[in-house]
């Protein structure tokens, strides 16, 4: 008798799609245990894409892209500033989508994703503000002006901090989650303000580099590395949020049977559930 033959997997463990289609798949992934098992396989791909794109974009952007004819080499700050700023907006939109999924459909995994993503978005916002300020010194002659773009980005940072603090400031987790979700939805009004601030108000800040309708206003040797950095930051963000969501799943489900099976030193405590040979190791799985 082999070890596997008498260890049928719990239904929650099955990750191979039984029925095709996006909705059945998403529905299964809404279960934290299924998500935890399946997402482990996504991480290496995200990390590979993140490392390849960020390394290639950094080398190209720092050493190979030509210096700007007006700004000289200080323009190379664009390769960290723009990706961080784009991710700051994308992450807030992710928070709003998660808030909707949690408030309307009571999907707890969405709230775990939001919990995991908020600090990453706050960091991206802070990095965009810092790199922008540093870039402003040689370019504008000042590290800060109270114009629409910079002010709305600062408000964005405070919105992130508000979402994080609000989540932790209630006696019950559910109340904190609901308050944070509502602030994430209300905070969405700031997103179009940031996006159009450079068009609506006169400002020192230059308009968007990438638009859907026009070619970038710079040579390919400048914008291809920028595109690589944006792709790399998205992948890095995805990997970070996935890692952090998995920690959050473990934390919140720590009393569930599947976590016990996963981490128990004697996983044969419940026969048939999970034999030692069939148990999932978490070593090196980060």
């Amino acid at each position: 008798m082999t070890a596997d033959s008498d260890s049928p997997q719990a239904p929650a463990r099955k990750v191979r799609p039984r029925k095709g289609g996006l909705w059945p798949w998403l529905h299964r992934m809404g279960a934290p245990a299924t998500f935890f098992t399946a997402s482990r396989r996504w991480l290496p791909w995200l990390w590979a894409l993140a490392i390849i794109a960020v390394v290639a974009g950094s080398v190209w952007g720092l050493a190979f892209a030509p210096a700007d004819y007006q700004q000289g080499n200080s323009f190379r700050i664009i390769y960290v500033h723009v990706p961080a700023a784009i991710l700051a907006q994308s992450c807030f939109m992710l928070l709003a989508v998660c808030a909707l999924l949690f408030l309307v459909w009571k999907i707890k995994l969405a709230d775990m994703v939001a919990t995991a993503a908020a600090p990453v978005g706050a960091l991206m916002t802070a990095l965009a503000l810092f790199s922008g300020s540093v870039w402003g010194i040689p370019t504008w002659g000042t590290w800060w002006i109270w114009d629409a773009r910079l002010t709305s980005m600062l408000i964005q940072l405070f919105l992130y901090l508000g979402v994080i603090v609000l989540r932790g400031s209630f006696a019950s987790r559910d109340s904190g989650s609901r308050a944070a979700s509502i602030l994430a939805l209300v905070g969405m009004v700031n997103i179009p303000i940031i996006k159009y601030s450079v068009d609506w108000w006169s400002t020192l800040h230059q308009p968007a580099t990438f638009t859907l309708s026009e070619a970038p206003p710079m040579p390919a040797s400048m914008w291809i590395p920028l595109l690589l950095m944006v792709i790399g930051f998205y992948a890095l963000f995805g990997a970070l949020v996935l890692m952090r969501t998995r920690v959050e799943v473990l934390r919140r489900e720590s009393r569930k049977q599947w976590v016990r099976d996963l981490l128990s030193p004697h996983s044969d405590s419940r026969p048939g559930q999970n034999s030692p040979a069939g148990s999932v190791s978490t070593e090196g799985d980060h």
Binding site: A63, G72, L263
Partner: protein, 64 residues
């Protein structure tokens, strides 16, 4: 499209960034440090959460 030429003629010129070294390297440096720090912090929290759960499970199995 052929590969672009290197924008600097020497390594020291590369680090000098045409007089903008302080700005370029502080922006890049802080970004890299913070992102790497967040990855490390996440791995540490994963380990802490797993250790917590394992400790609790050991306590429970010792009691029974």
């Amino acid at each position: 499209m052929s590969l672009p030429d290197v924008a600097f003629s020497s390594v020291s010129e590369f680090f000098a960034m045409g007089g903008h070294a302080l700005y370029v390297w502080s922006a890049w440096g802080l970004t890299a440090t913070c992102l790497a720090g967040l990855v490390i912090a996440t791995r540490l929290s994963r380990r802490a959460v797993e250790a917590d759960i394992r400790r609790r499970l050991r306590r429970e199995s010792a009691r029974s």
